[in-house]
Symmetry: C2
Amino acid sequence: MNYRFSSRVSQLKSSAVRDILKLTQGKDMISFAGGLPAEELFPVQAIREAADRAFTAGTGALQYGLTEGYMPLREQLCTRMAVKNMHVNPEQMILTTGSQQAIDLLVGVLTEPGDTVLVEKPTYLASLQVFALHGLNVIAAESDEDGIIPEDAERLIKEHRPKLLYAVPTFGNPTGRVWSLERRKKLLALCKQNEMPIIEDDPYGDIKFDDSEQFPTMFSLEGQAERGAVFYTSTFSKTVAPALRSGWAMGDSSVIGMVAKAKQAADLHSSAIDQQILSQLLSGFDLDAHIRLISDSYGARMLEMHELLMRQNLKDISWVKPKGGMFLWLELPDGLDAEALLRCAVQKGVAFVPGSSFYGNNPQRNTARLNYTYNSGARTELGVDRFVDAISEFTARS
Amino acid sequence: MNYRFSSRVSQLKSSAVRDILKLTQGKDMISFAGGLPAEELFPVQAIREAADRAFTAGTGALQYGLTEGYMPLREQLCTRMAVKNMHVNPEQMILTTGSQQAIDLLVGVLTEPGDTVLVEKPTYLASLQVFALHGLNVIAAESDEDGIIPEDAERLIKEHRPKLLYAVPTFGNPTGRVWSLERRKKLLALCKQNEMPIIEDDPYGDIKFDDSEQFPTMFSLEGQAERGAVFYTSTFSKTVAPALRSGWAMGDSSVIGMVAKAKQAADLHSSAIDQQILSQLLSGFDLDAHIRLISDSYGARMLEMHELLMRQNLKDISWVKPKGGMFLWLELPDGLDAEALLRCAVQKGVAFVPGSSFYGNNPQRNTARLNYTYNSGARTELGVDRFVDAISEFTARS
C-alpha cells in the first residue's frame, strides 16, 4: 500500500538535536548538543524511596487517573509556585508529559490553523515544531541581551496581528539570555493591549547561578491567573529528572479546562506513577536544597567551559556568560556555516547544535549552542579542544 | 483578557465517561461506567520489584530517552507480538502514552483536516474525540454480531472516499463484539482495494474468556508490516496497570518514522521510567500467567453480571454475552433515552455510560455500556439492583 501523509507532518523537519543525539549514542563522542542534565546529580536514591512509598500507598496508585493530573502533586506545586509570587489553585493547573506537551496543548487550544505566532529570535526549536504541526505562521522579533526589543515586537504585531507570544524569558533556549524587568513589563503591556496571550515557557528558571538575583516571571508580573494574559509552563525534567516526564501548565481556569479536553483526546492522562513519585519526593526530600546543589554545579561547569574557550583566544567568536540555564550561545566568525562545522566536529568526536535550528526562517548560520551541564572536567576539556580543532581546520579550509 | 479558542477544541464534548468518573469519585456510588481494571488484581509487588531493578540499573535510567521509546522494551514487545503471528522489528514500533496517544498520532500522520474516516457503529468514544480534534468527518458503517457489514462499508467508501478505517475488531468498545474471521478478511481486502490504511485498536484482545479460541488480528492477516495496510495499537493498561501509561503502535517503518516526528513535537517522549519498569517486569514476571488470571476473573465477573441481569427478567432489554473484554452492551426498550436514565441511576447510586456517547451522529439512544471488571460480588449485586430499580422507576414514569 502507498500512504498519503499529512502535509504538515511530512514537511516537519526532525529535530536536529535529537537526530544528533542518535548519531552520538554509543560512540566516543563528547556531546555538547542535547539539553541533558548531569546524570551523576540525579537524586536516584530519593526517587527510589519515593517510588517505594508510592507503590505502598495502595493498589489505587496503579489505576487510571484524572486528565488534569494527580491532585496532591497539583496542590504541592501550587504551594511551590506561590513562593515565586505566582498564585494559582489546582483548577488553574494541569500536569503534562513534560513542558513540551504543555506548550503543544496550549498552542492547540489558543490558535486556529493559519494563525500567526510571535517568538523571540532565536527560540526553542521544538516550539517551532509545535507551531508547524498546528499549521501556524511564525514571526520572530529581534532581541538583544535584555530580551525581545519591544519596538520590533510592536512593529510585527501591527503588521501580522499574531494570536500569541511564545517566549522563554529566563535563561532562554538557545541563548541563555534573561529578559530585563523593563522588557518583561513592556512586552506584557504590549500583549495585553493587543489581546495576545503569552505562553511563558520556564524550564530553566530554577537553574540560577547567583541565588540572590531575582527574575520575576511574566506570570507574577501579570498578577492574576483568572482572565490573565500569561500561561506559564515548567517541568521537573531539569530539577529532578527527565525520565519522569512531568511538566505543568497554569493560568486561567477556562483555558486550562480546554487544555484538559484536548489532553483527553491526546493521551487521557500522563503517567500517574511519575506524578505520584514526584508527590512523594516533594514531601520527603528537600528539592530546594537539591536545586541549589545542581545550580551551583552547573554554574561551575559553565565557568569551566567559558574559561576553556577564553584561553583559546578564539578570533571573532563571542558569547555572553549566562547567569543560569544550560547553554552557551556562540556567535562564530561571519560567513561560517555552523551546520558545515558540525559535520567536521562530529568527525573529531564532538557534537553541538548549529544555531540555524532555532530560527523560524532567515537563520543566522554562524551561531552554535553548546550545552555545559552534561559533561565536566576532562570530558569538557577534551570536547572543547576538539571543538576548537574543528573550527581551526574549518576556517583554514574555507 | 478575553480568549479566542480553537474552534475544534471548543466544539469538543468532554468525554461523558470521564465526566461521570469525576462525578462518582468519593461517594457511595457503584460505577459500571469507566473501563477500569480491577485494582485488587494489579501485580503491585511485581511492579514494585521491577521498579527497584530499574532504579538500580544506573543513573542513565533517569535521563532523556528516545522519542521511539526504550529499546529493550520494544525488543521484548516484538517477541511477544511474534507469538501472535505479528512480525515487526523495533523500527516498526513506537511506544506511546497509552494506546490513546498511538491513535492520536497515527490519525494525525495519515490524514488532513477535512478528510473522512470510517468507523464501526458504535465505536470507542475517545477515538471520536481524536477525529474531531483533527478536523475529520466521521462516517459509521452498520455492524452486527460479526462486526462491520462489508456491504455497508463498501457503499460508504464509494460515497465518501474515507482516508482510513478505525476499528476495534476484538472485544470492541463499547459492544464487546468480536469480528468473525470472514469479516476481518473482507474488510481488509476492501481497505486494500481502496488504498485505505486500517488502524486496528486492540487494547482488549488479551482479555479472552476461553483461552482456546483464536481471533487472528487484522495485522496478522495482512501478513506484513512494511507497506502493509494495517497499523496495530495496543497497551499495557488492561494487562498490567493503567497508571504506567504505556501503549504502542506498529506498522510500516516510514509511517512509524512520521509518528515519531509528530511525537517529538507532542511530548518528546513518554515516561521512560514506566517503560523501564515494564521492561524489567517482562523479564522477571510471567505476564502471560497474569493475563490468564485476570481473564478468568473478568470472565467470572461478566457471568456474575450477566446472571444477575438475567434473573430480573427484564422486559425488552437484550445483550450478547461477550467472549472477552470489559463491557456488556445493553439494548434498552425502544424510546428509552439512556442519558435520562443515567440521571435517575446516579441518584440511586449507580453509574454507567449511555450508548449515545459512542456514535459519531444519529445515536441509538436506548443503549448502555456496563463495565463488569471493576466491581465484583456484593458490589456488583447492589449495583445491578440499583440499575434495575432505576429502569423500573424510569419506565413507570415515562
